[in-house]
């Protein structure tokens, strides 16, 4: 191993590289291209993944939505086609029976109403919610606050509106917090204004009012329109979904096999599909990147082999004046490793700069296609180590070829 640290070895490599500029450049480009592709593809895949993550960012992705429809099977004396509603007691049963599985549960009642402020008015969705909704679907509050527990307990007539609603209902520059708007002819005090979310938004522009207030004002009794359930970490969300629906079926005297009675949407499963797609894409990236890398390394081997043929005479001279086969071999392997290393480093730097450029061009702003496209340092190191190993192995072939030719034959070559 001494020869690696011997300045003379490097002198020799410098000499032979300087002599063979073109092939050196071509060789370097081959490997550079491979590792460049790997870095850029991995970075782009990561950027895409980050983009999706950002899209779901404000939303608890392991959520299930459940609502009621009508039965499709007669059961316990009920005809099919029976309509029924979720109730507050269902919520309590679920909360107590699935206390381990459920992280958050938000029952919701919603309607549409005219909202009026001074002489401006518009129709918007009005939603009766618990403060927990903010945990499931994070609201970006621009001013004020979201609903709190106190609002629920005191049946407060307060509301949280969106930025767009504010623009529609208020004059420019007008302070919204503390002002009153009329919803269905009842005055509500605005306590918060939220901005639009970049990602999933179930509600759109909605005036949020306390669940208890909604119940009283719209006289919904113990009925619940629908609910959002967020699973605790490590819970099989599909299992939880079917368990909960089964429980609800028994509570509402619905046939266990009834397909229509409960509607549900499992965000977790949908996202799993997407994540699966991303994983597949990452695998593809690795596959393509490594294949290109291997092709590049083979190109190095190939070119070194040609060079060795070209340099047969030189190698013959060196051997005539006392170079041992081992020293020739070391020389060529070291050259191969040196070339792959330089090419690898250039490829990584080049790929990194392209990622930087991509980030600057497409990675910024709320609608960015690729968010923060990066590659982990350990991945780079692994790719680099692989490259050097391959460079060594491939260097063995020309090195061997260089030494099996007898010096006499090498010298005879003109």
């Amino acid at each position: 191993m001494k020869f690696i640290f011997d300045s003379d070895s490097w002198q020799e490599i410098y000499g032979s590289i300087r002599k063979n500029k073109i092939r050196t450049v071509i060789t370097i480009i081959g490997v550079l291209w491979g590792i460049f592709l790997l870095v850029v593809l991995l970075g782009a895949a990561r950027g895409m993944e980050n983009g999706f993550t950002k899209l779901f960012g404000d939303f608890a992705t392991n959520s299930v939505f459940v609502w009621t429809q009508s039965t499709d099977t007669p059961f316990k004396g009920y005809q099919k086609g029976r309509r029924f509603r979720l109730t507050d007691s269902d919520i309590e049963v679920l909360k107590s029976e699935y206390s381990d599985e459920i992280k958050f549960l938000a029952p919701r009642n919603q309607t549409n109403n005219l909202l009026v402020h001074d002489f401006k008015s518009s129709n918007y969705k009005v939603s009766g919610d618990y403060p927990v909704l903010d945990k499931i679907q994070k609201k970006k509050l621009l001013y004020g606050r979201f609903l709190n527990e106190n609002d629920i307990l005191s049946y407060a007539k307060v509301t949280v509106i969106s930025e767009d609603m504010y623009k529609q209902l208020f004059d420019k520059g007008e302070e919204a917090i503390g002002q009153y708007i009329k919803i269905n002819a009842i005055n509500y005090k605005v306590v918060g204004v939220y901005g639009s979310s970049n990602g999933i938004d179930l509600d759109g522009d909605t005036a949020y009012i306390p669940y208890s207030t909604f119940k009283k004002v719209y006289n919904t009794g113990n009925k619940v329109d629908w609910m959002v359930i967020t699973a605790a970490p490590d819970v099989d969300i599909e299992q939880m979904e079917s368990d909960i629906i089964l429980t609800l079926k028994s509570l509402h005297k619905v046939h266990p096999d009834d397909k229509r009675a409960f509607g549900s949407f499992n965000l977790g499963t949908q996202i799993d599909k997407l994540t699966g797609f991303l994983t597949g894409m990452q695998f593809l990236t690795w596959f393509v990147g490594i294949a290109t890398l291997i092709a590049g390394v083979f190109a190095i081997g190939n070119i070194l082999l040609i060079t060795v043929k070209e340099r047969t005479k030189e190698i013959g001279i060196r051997r005539a004046i006392g170079a041992t086969p081992a020293s020739i071999r070391q020389q060529i392997i070291l050259e191969s490793v040196f070339l792959t290393t330089v090419a690898g480093m250039l490829g990584i730097i080049f790929g990194g700069s392209i990622l930087f450029a991509i980030d600057a061009a497409f990675g910024q702003g709320p609608d960015a296609a690729l968010v923060n496209p990066t590659v982990n340092i350990p991945i780079i190191l692994i790719a680099f180590a692989t490259l050097i190993t391959l460079g060594t192995l491939i260097g063995l072939i020309p090195a061997h070829v260089a030494t099996i030719v007898k010096p006499i034959e090498a010298l005879r070559e003109e």
Partner: protein
């Protein structure tokens, strides 16, 4: 120094084999200046290659510096070449991308000598062949005679026992031929064994002993006027 007994060598050509050396006996003592004469195909290059450990012989015995050469692997051959032999080729065989000085220093590199030391020694030898001022020139910036003198310096730099010259003047005009031969004579006067292969009578005449080969056998082995003059 070099002792050859009943040396045979043949090359396979297709199914047949070409018998090139047919039982040579040759004894070259230390300090001799020997030329091997012969037309092409006489086996003189083969002989030089065997003596120079660039090729192996089939039969017979070869002693270099008293050591029987037998079953050498490439590594041992390389070490022996580096230690005992200096080569001068017809086509100079300098490495084109290295300066004259680096070319001369290369055998010392394979000997494992440090850079500073070997460049210093190489410069001394370049001075000896009168090319000190050309040390930093690349071979293609030198004339044929200069190239051959660089090659001779390279052959001498390891202080070998024998200098083997294969048609050293083959690519040179008569003036430079003389200067190269003078240089070889000078080296020989200092005690170096010089072994020249040539087909030019004038070149051979400047050595001290002429061995003539024809069809793989020695037909004559005579001392020249040069030897008698000494």
């Amino acid at each position: 120094m070099i002792k050859i007994e009943n040396l045979h060598k043949s090359y396979p050509i297709g199914k047949d084999s070409l018998h090139v050396l047919k039982g040579l006996d040759l004894h070259i003592k230390e300090g001799e200046f020997v030329s091997i004469m012969g037309s092409s195909g006489s086996g003189k290059s083969t002989l030089l290659n065997i003596v120079g450990l660039l090729d192996t012989h089939d039969e017979g015995k070869y002693y270099l510096n008293g050591q029987l050469i037998k079953d050498l692997n490439e590594k041992k051959a390389a070490i022996l070449r580096n230690k005992f032999l200096g080569f001068v080729f017809q086509s100079f065989n300098l490495i084109s991308y290295k300066t004259a000085l680096e070319n001369v220093a290369l055998p010392l590199y394979y000997k494992g000598m440090g850079r500073k030391e070997r460049l210093k020694i190489a410069l001394e030898y370049l001075e000896k062949v009168g090319l000190k001022d050309w040390a930093e020139h690349l071979p293609n910036e030198l004339s044929g005679g200069q190239k051959q003198r660089v090659a001779i310096a390279r052959a001498l730099v390891t202080k070998p026992k024998v200098v083997l010259a294969d048609e050293p003047t083959g690519a040179l005009d008569s003036t430079t031929t003389d200067s190269v031969m003078d240089l070889l004579k000078e080296i020989n006067d200092e005690g170096m064994t010089v072994f020249v292969i040539t087909h030019e009578e004038e070149v051979a005449a400047q050595t001290k002993r002429i061995v003539r080969l024809r069809d793989g056998v020695i037909i004559s082995d005579k001392l020249t006027q040069q030897a008698k003059a000494v």
